[in-house]
């Protein structure tokens, strides 16, 4: 009897255990356990805390309330007012001496990678992207539709832009469809709508204002695309570089211009037409400034309340500017004057940074744009509206861009008063997205670059049969094919080197002149893997010998200090062996985190041949 009971008890325990196990396993397997979901979430923020900011100056998107209390949680803004009761258990923040702004909207960016997370650190809670990989935009959109995304800015995107074959937008290494005839406009726009594009971005620019010549869609195609976008209920926004192009775009019925022209000042008649047609303008003065050779963001990186929150590559990008062609007609003064005239004429101005171009970085550069808008003549209040309520209205984002009961709690608390001194917009104390506080980790305690045993500094003497290097990942051929170009290069060791040495590295190839930024040549990575930053700061210069066909070649240096775009210098490979010394400072780097050196041919060198030998650091 008792043994039967024991047996039943045993079976019961076994069954209950089995059931527990199966239930546990089944419940643990939830869909979407993706790799990204597992990535660093250092300290999980507490779920739905009600927060109150008391006694704070509020810029509500349109006007200023000198002293108010704002209460919010993840469901949205619960109360705004001067005599708001703060419920018990609320996290209260003393807002005296501070200003609360709506989460900022950057109306012109190109987002990829972790750009949206980085934007959030600087108070940008929504980015209106003007061209990115359509699949990336689709992923972001899907996540936003599934529920609140707390750890990165929301994205609205044009997805794939509309441009001519070989036109602006095709040089960024993303293979995209292009448009060559007006008859294809409808199908092309349908494809964009199918990809989920929130609006249609059209490039109507032959780059003459930058002293270049690029293919552009024609005026009839522009008109056809705008018509197609309008008929499908999508905004048509146009990238222009000149007043002439802006005129065509407005005439074609565009909803907005996503850059301001910078070649000629507008006349009153044109301003009147822009205003009466209700066309909005996103001037992107930051990138206009950079296009005139001024590193637009250099001053930001130096600020004590900004610099420590920037990654080295971001600070590097802020310190760069576009190379300026002597034929460039871009003038920052004209651009500023145009913004002032348009603003005076009643045209809606939206703040956009065009990050991540040289001189810009996601998030932080929107604040630079606000400063430039104020320089151009907007009041700080109008500039702030250009980054909050105005883009929200123009792009139909009814749930944000203002601080009002029931709207999303995307908020930025700053020290001081940006409604009188726009520079205070960067004195960020707290950022909330969907009512949840955003972590703002400092970036200035980065791990150092990989230490490299560079010995005496000798890289390669090329006296072996193969192009070997004494350290680092070594030599590989790098060409613009990775960006859709057709340039080629080959390298091989040949007899007869510099200063009587046994052999040297011969580089031969062809340059594809149709590509906007062609390159081809050998690249040396000093770190253990390609493009891993290596510390070579105990050296100060690069020394090498060259000989060749008399052509002018480029030496490019890659470093996070330079942002995403390498710095370069040139050398002539003459018929005789010549020794070259290039100091790190020539590139504006200190060798602390050198990623690669590239010896490259460039535009105008359909066939090239040069030799390199005795490469070393000194």
């Amino acid at each position: 009897m008792s043994s039967t009971i024991r047996r039943i008890g045993f079976a019961g325990v076994a069954l209950v255990s089995l059931a527990l196990y199966v239930v546990g396993v089944r419940s643990a397997v939830t869909p979407g356990g993706s790799f990204t979901a597992r990535q660093a979430a250092p300290v999980a923020p507490p779920a739905n805390v009600t927060t109150a900011v008391t006694g704070v100056r509020v810029f509500d998107g349109e006007r200023v309330v000198p002293e108010a209390t704002v209460v919010f949680d993840e469901s949205g803004i619960l109360a705004v007012g001067t005599d708001v009761a703060v419920p018990a258990g609320t996290r209260t923040i003393d807002g005296r001496g501070k200003t609360l702004l709506p989460g900022l909207i950057d109306a012109h960016t190109h987002a990829f990678g972790d750009a949206l997370a980085r934007a959030l650190v600087f108070g940008v809670t929504t980015e209106l992207d003007m061209f990115t990989d359509a699949r990336f935009a689709m992923d972001m959109r899907r996540a936003q539709e599934a529920g609140p995304v707390f750890d990165r800015a929301d994205l609205r995107s044009a997805g794939t832009l509309v441009t001519a074959p070989g036109g602006h937008g095709t040089q960024f290494g993303v293979l995209i469809p292009t448009l060559s005839a007006p008859d294809d406009a409808e199908a092309f726009v349908d494809a964009r709508v199918g990809e989920g594009s929130d609006y249609i971005k059209i490039v109507y620019d032959d780059a003459v204002s930058h002293g270049l010549r690029l293919p552009s869609i024609g005026r009839d195609t522009l008109e056809a695309v705008v018509r197609a976008a309008r008929s499908r209920g999508r905004l048509a926004v146009v990238h222009v570089g000149t007043l002439g192009a802006a005129r065509d775009a407005v005439d074609a019925g565009a909803h907005g211009l996503v850059h301001v022209f910078a070649d000629q000042p507008p006349d009153a008649d044109f301003v009147g037409r822009v205003a009466s047609a209700g066309v909005f303008v996103i001037p992107t003065l930051t990138v206009v400034e950079s296009a005139t050779g001024i590193a637009s963001g250099a001053g930001l990186a130096a600020l004590a309340h900004v610099g420590p929150w920037l990654r080295p590559d971001e600070a590097g990008s802020l310190r760069r500017a576009f190379p300026v062609s002597p034929a460039s007609k871009t003038s920052l003064d004209i651009a500023r004057g145009a913004v002032a005239a348009l603003e005076d004429g009643g045209v809606a101005i939206l703040a956009g940074s065009d990050a991540p171009n040289p001189g810009t970085s996601h998030g932080v550069s929107l604040h630079r744009e606000l400063q430039l808008l104020v320089h151009a003549g907007l009041s700080p209040l109008d500039a702030l509206a250009a980054a909050t309520s105005v883009p929200a209205r123009v792009f139909s984002l009814g749930d944000r861009g203002r601080i009002a009961h029931g709207l999303r709690a995307d908020l930025v608390l700053v020290e001081g008063d940006p409604t009188t001194d726009i520079g205070d917009s960067l004195r960020i104390v707290h950022v909330w997205k969907h009512g949840r506080e955003v972590a703002r980790p400092r970036q200035d305690e980065q791990p150092p670059s990989a230490a490299v045993d560079a010995g005496t500094g000798v890289v390669s003497t090329f006296d072996d049969a193969e192009p070997t290097a004494a350290f680092g990942h070594g030599w590989v051929v790098s060409t613009d094919t990775m960006r859709g170009g057709g340039s080629t290069a080959t390298m091989r060791v040949v007899q007869g080197g510099a200063a009587g040495s046994r052999a040297a590295l011969e580089v031969t190839g062809r340059i594809d002149d149709a590509h906007m930024f062609p390159w081809a040549g050998p690249m040396f990575s000093p770190g253990p893997t390609p493009m891993a930053a290596a510390d070579l700061s105990r050296f100060t210069e690069i020394v090498f010998w060259t000989k060749g066909d008399g052509g002018t070649y480029r030496l490019l240096a890659f470093s996070p200090q330079l942002g995403m775009i390498p710095a370069e210098t040139s050398f002539v490979a003459t018929g005789e062996w010549v020794e070259h010394h290039v100091r790190f400072s020539t590139f504006g780097i200190d060798g602390r985190d050198l990623q690669a050196l590239l010896f490259s041919a460039g535009k105008g060198q359909p066939e090239f041949r040069f030799l390199i030998d005795e490469v070393r650091f000194r």
Binding site: V16, G24, V29, A40, A450
Partner: protein
């Protein structure tokens, strides 16, 4: 030699005092500790396997991840789980099987030692080795991996891993009671390394091929790994209670298996 089971009445007739009972527990644990310490075949691999793997993958490869994946922190949790599982499987599985074979069980049952002391000593040693492994990995992580956790994070990890010794000790007991004394060591080795690998304790589960990834949640170590990852602030795939439930179920099943093994064993002899 034939095994004799002492009638339970005898034990009941001569109860030990509380003091003696505690002393018996303590001595048994102390001798178990001395035994393991003097067995380099246990102590070295149990401590060194996780430390070696962690140094290789967590610290060595970690710096090449480019900041996208915090390998030192992730693998601190997963190799911590791996280590504790190893300590439990070897500590209980192998030693119980071997001691069964040596006839220790019969001797112990014949001695006045409280029967619980034998198990308690082994559990205590599993937990102690678990603590040593956590300390060793944490030291490596802080010193060479730059891992920084809040105090609550370290405590959470420690508690999860030490409690995590229980289900795998139960499993060890099951293996120890069912396996032959000579086949226990190879059997535990065959179970330990592949189970750890397939449960995502060596590398993040996302790096494994699809079918393995799908199967991982059916493996008990996966659930301890998930709880450990949650402790260091990394997101996990399911709610904590599900992992706890799976581990509790696994403990129950293991204990049932152990009971079957010991019942069967009472009729058998080992030469």
């Amino acid at each position: 030699m034939s095994t004799t089971t002492l009638p339970s009445e005898i034990r009941r007739a001569a109860p030990l005092g509380t003091h003696w009972r505690l002393r018996a527990y303590f001595l048994e644990a102390w001798f178990e500790f001395l035994k393991l310490l003097r067995l380099p075949g246990y102590a070295l691999p149990t401590l060194l396997f996780p430390a070696l793997f962690y140094s290789l993958f967590g610290l060595g490869l970690g710096r090449f991840s480019g900041g996208r994946f915090d390998a030192p922190t992730y693998l601190l949790a997963s190799y911590g789980a791996f280590g504790v599982i190893g300590a439990s499987l070897f500590g209980l599985g192998v030693s119980v099987a071997v001691e069964r074979g040596q006839g220790w069980m019969a001797l112990k049952r014949a001695s006045p030692m409280p029967p619980g002391a034998y198990l308690a000593a082994k559990l205590a040693m599993s937990a102690l080795f678990g603590v040593l492994i956590v300390l060793l990995l944490s030291t490596l992580a802080v010193t060479f991996g730059g891992v920084r956790l809040p105090v609550s994070g370290w405590l959470h990890l420690g508690v999860v891993l030490v409690l995590g010794a229980l289900p795998f000790s139960a499993f060890g007991l099951a293996v120890g009671s069912l396996a032959g004394p000579n086949s226990a060591t190879p059997l535990v080795n065959i179970l330990y390394l592949p189970l750890g690998f397939a449960s995502g304790l060596w590398f993040p589960i996302q790096m494994l091929p699809g079918p393995l990834r799908a199967a991982a949640p059916w493996l008990p170590p996966y659930h301890l790994g998930e709880l450990a990852l949650a402790a260091v602030g990394l997101e996990r795939a399911g709610p904590a209670w599900a992992h706890v439930a799976a581990l509790a179920g696994f403990t129950g099943l293991s204990l049932c298996a152990a009971v079957i093994g010991f019942r069967r064993d009472s009729d058998r002899t080992w030469g």
